[in-house]
C-alpha cells in the first residue's frame, strides 16, 4: 500500500510539472486562439537566461529572476510587434506555423546567447527527500516536488483572482469571447496580447526553474512541451483548472501504468501512455474534461 501511495504521489508531483507547461499554453489559447508551439522553448529560454544572468553576470538570485521576468516581458512585446500584429485575422493554422518558427528562433537565440551545454540551476530550492514525510509516513518524496506543487497552487490561485476580479482579467476574457465587442468597449488587442504573452512567459519561467532544478537546464527541456499536449487534450484547451488536473491525471496515470502494467508489456509504458490516454479522449470527449464544447456550424 505504501508503495502504491508513493507511486501515486510521485506521479502527482511529476504531473504538476506538466501542468506548469500546459498552463502557459492555456493562457495564450484562451486569449487569442493561438496554439503556441513555442511554449516549451519559452520555458527553456527563460531558464537559460536565468542561469546566464546568475553564472555569467554573477547576479544574485532575486535580481536574476527580476531580470529574466523583464526579458520575458520584452520578448512578449517583440513577438506582438514582429509577429502577431501582422497576422491578425489569419487562419489559426498560419498562426500555429508562425509559433513553430518562433520556437526555432528562440532555440537558436538561446544557443547563441548562452551556449548549448547542460547547465546546473540552483536557486536554493531544497533538494533531496523530505525527511518529515519519510519519518512520519514512511513515504519517499522529493522536497523539490513538494515545492513545485506549492508553487503551481500559488500560481493558479493568483491567476484565478487576476482573471476574475480585475479590469485586465476581464478584458482578457472579453477578448477571448468576442474580438469585435472587445474592440467596441475600447480594449486594445495589441496590449492584451502583450500582457497575455508576458504572463505566459512568466509561467514559462516558473516551469523552466522547476524542470531546470530537477534535471538541469538542457535543450531537451523544450520537448516537455510535447507532454503538455496530452495534458491539454485531457483538461481542455481553454481551462486553467483543466491544465492542472489534466497534468496530474497524466502524471499519476503514466507512473501507475509503468509500475503495474509495465512488466507485462516490456516496460517503457511511461513514454507513450499519455498519448494513448489523449487518443482515447479525442475519440470520446474531444473538448476535454473542462474545455468548452465547440460546435462548428457547417
Amino acid at each position: 500500500m505504501t508503495f502504491f501511495i508513493e507511486v501515486t504521489l510521485s506521479g502527482l508531483m511529476a504531473g504538476v510539472m506538466y501542468s506548469l507547461v500546459a498552463l502557459g499554453f492555456v493562457l495564450i489559447f484562451k486569449a487569442s486562439g493561438i496554439f503556441n508551439f513555442a511554449q516549451g522553448v519559452m520555458a527553456l529560454f527563460a531558464a537559460l537566461t536565468l542561469v546566464g544572468f546568475m553564472d555569467e553576470f554573477g547576479m544574485p538570485i532575486w535580481l536574476a529572476i527580476i531580470g529574466t521576468i523583464a526579458v520575458m516581458i520584452a520578448l512578449a512585446w517583440v513577438i506582438e510587434r514582429v509577429m502577431l500584429r501582422h497576422l491578425v485575422n489569419q487562419e489559426p493554422i498560419i498562426l500555429f506555423m508562425a509559433t513553430i518558427g518562433l520556437a526555432y528562433v528562440l532555440e537558436g537565440l538561446g544557443d547563441i546567447l548562452w551556449g548549448s551545454d547542460v547547465k546546473m540551476l540552483d536557486i536554493g530550492i531544497p533538494q533531496g527527500a523530505s525527511d518529515w514525510m519519510l519519518d512520519t509516513f514512511d513515504i519517499y518524496i522529493e522536497k523539490l516536488e513538494i515545492f513545485a506543487a506549492a508553487t503551481a497552487a500559488t500560481l493558479v490561485i493568483f491567476l484565478a483572482i487576476f482573471f476574475q476580479k480585475t479590469r485586465i482579467g476581464r478584458a482578457l476574457r472579453a477578448v477571448a469571447d468576442d474580438h469585435q465587442a472587445a474592440l467596441s468597449v475600447g480594449i486594445s488587442l495589441h496590449t492584451i496580447w502583450v500582457i497575455v504573452w508576458s504572463v505566459s512567459g512568466i509561467v514559462a519561467l516558473v516551469a523552466g526553474i522547476m524542470w531546470g532544478s530537477k534535471s538541469g537546464v538542457q535543450f531537451s527541456l523544450s520537448l516537455i512541451a510535447l507532454k503538455a499536449l496530452p495534458v491539454l487534450i485531457l483538461g481542455g484547451f481553454t481551462s486553467v483548472p483543466g491544465a492542472i488536473i489534466g497534468g496530474m491525471i497524466i502524471g499519476v496515470g503514466e507512473k501507475l501504468a509503468e509500475v503495474y502494467l509495465g512488466p507485462f508489456v516490456g516496460g517503457a509504458l511511461e513514454n507513450w501512455f499519455a498519448y494513448m490516454l489523449a487518443l482515447a479522449f479525442l475519440l470520446f470527449r474531444p473538448q476535454g474534461l473542462f474545455g468548452e464544447r465547440i460546435i462548428e456550424r457547417v
Binding site: 493568483f158 487576476f162 485586465i168 476574457r173 468576442d178 465587442a181 472587445a182 474592440l183 467596441s184 475600447g186
Partner: protein
C-alpha cells in the same frame, strides 16, 4: 415627438465611400448628427446601414470621405480611438461576452474608465481595489436603470434574447458615451419588449443627454423616436430630414414598397 432644440454638430460624415473589392457598399454618404438628438438610419436590407455604423466606430475604414467627430476630422476612426473619445455601440447580432456574467459584461464596458496599471491590478490591492469598487457602483446604477437586478450574476449566454439585448445596451451605457450607436436594438422582440426598449432609449437620451444613432426596421418606432432620419438604399443616400419629410418622400416610398423599374 415635437420638434426639439438640437445642439451643435457632434458628428459629421462627408462623402463616405466604402467598397469591398468590386462591391460598393456605401457611395457618397453625407450627414451629420447633432448633440442630444436621436438620429435614425433606415433602409431596406443590404442598404449599408450597419456598414455605416461600422465606419463611425472604426471597424471599417472607408476609401473615400472624412469623419469629423467633436471637431476633429479623420479619414477613418480606429475602434479604440472611437471608444476612448466617447462612442459606444451595440450590435445587430448580439455580441456579448457570453461566458461572463451580466455584471462582468457591464464592468467590461467601464474598461476605459478604469486606469490603474497592471502592477496594482496583479496585486489586487490599493488603488486597483478602490477603483474596482467605485466602478462597481456605477455598474450597479446601470443595472438598476435597466431593471436587470435579478440576472446580475447569471452568465449572459443563457439569458433570453430580449434580456441579452438589454445587457448589451447596459454594457454600452457603462462607458458613459457621448454618442451611442444602436444597431437594431429591437430586432426579434415582441411588442412588449419593444416598448420597454423604446422607453430605455428615450430615458437614456433624456436623462443622460446621450446622442443616439439608431438603426431600426420598425417604422412606427423610428418615426416616434427620431428627431431626424437618414435613408439609405443600395449604399446610396435617398433622403435626409425630419420623420414627416422622409415619410412623404416619393423615392423612400418606392424603395420600401418597390416600384417596377423601367
Amino acid at each position: 415627438m415635437s420638434e426639439r432644440q438640437l445642439g451643435d454638430t457632434i458628428l459629421e460624415v462627408n462623402n463616405i465611400g466604402l467598397s469591398f473589392g468590386v462591391m460598393k457598399v456605401l457611395d457618397d454618404i453625407s450627414f451629420d448628427i447633432k448633440k442630444g438628438e436621436i438620429r435614425s438610419i433606415i433602409g431596406p436590407n443590404g442598404a449599408g446601414k450597419s456598414s455605416m455604423l461600422n465606419v463611425i466606430n472604426g471597424f471599417y475604414h472607408p476609401q473615400e470621405g472624412t469623419i469629423t467627430f467633436k471637431g476633429e476630422t479623420r479619414k477613418a476612426m480606429a475602434p479604440h480611438v472611437a471608444a476612448s473619445h466617447g462612442i459606444a455601440r451595440t450590435f445587430q447580432n448580439i455580441a456579448l461576452f457570453k461566458g461572463m456574467s451580466t455584471l462582468d459584461n457591464i464592468m467590461t464596458g467601464r474598461n476605459l474608465k478604469m486606469k490603474t496599471n497592471i502592477f496594482w491590478q496583479a496585486l489586487h490591492l490599493g488603488p486597483a481595489r478602490k477603483e474596482e469598487l467605485e466602478n462597481r457602483e456605477a455598474a450597479e446604477r446601470i443595472i438598476d436603470f435597466l431593471d436587470i437586478q435579478a440576472i446580475r450574476k447569471k452568465p449572459v449566454g443563457k439569458l433570453p434574447y430580449g434580456l441579452q439585448k438589454r445587457v448589451e445596451l447596459g454594457r454600452a451605457l457603462a462607458a458613459e458615451p457621448e454618442l451611442l450607436l444602436l444597431d437594431e436594438p429591437m430586432a426579434g422582440m415582441n411588442s412588449e419588449e419593444k416598448e420597454d426598449m423604446s422607453r430605455f432609449i428615450i430615458d437614456v437620451n433624456d436623462e443622460f443627454g446621450t446622442t443616439i444613432a439608431l438603426i431600426e426596421h420598425d417604422m412606427g418606432v423610428v418615426m416616434d423616436l427620431s428627431d431626424r432620419v437618414v435613408v439609405l438604399d443600395y449604399g446610396k443616400q435617398l433622403a435626409d430630414g425630419v420623420p414627416d419629410e422622409v415619410r412623404a418622400n416619393q423615392e423612400v416610398i418606392d424603395a420600401y414598397l418597390g416600384v417596377p423599374h423601367e
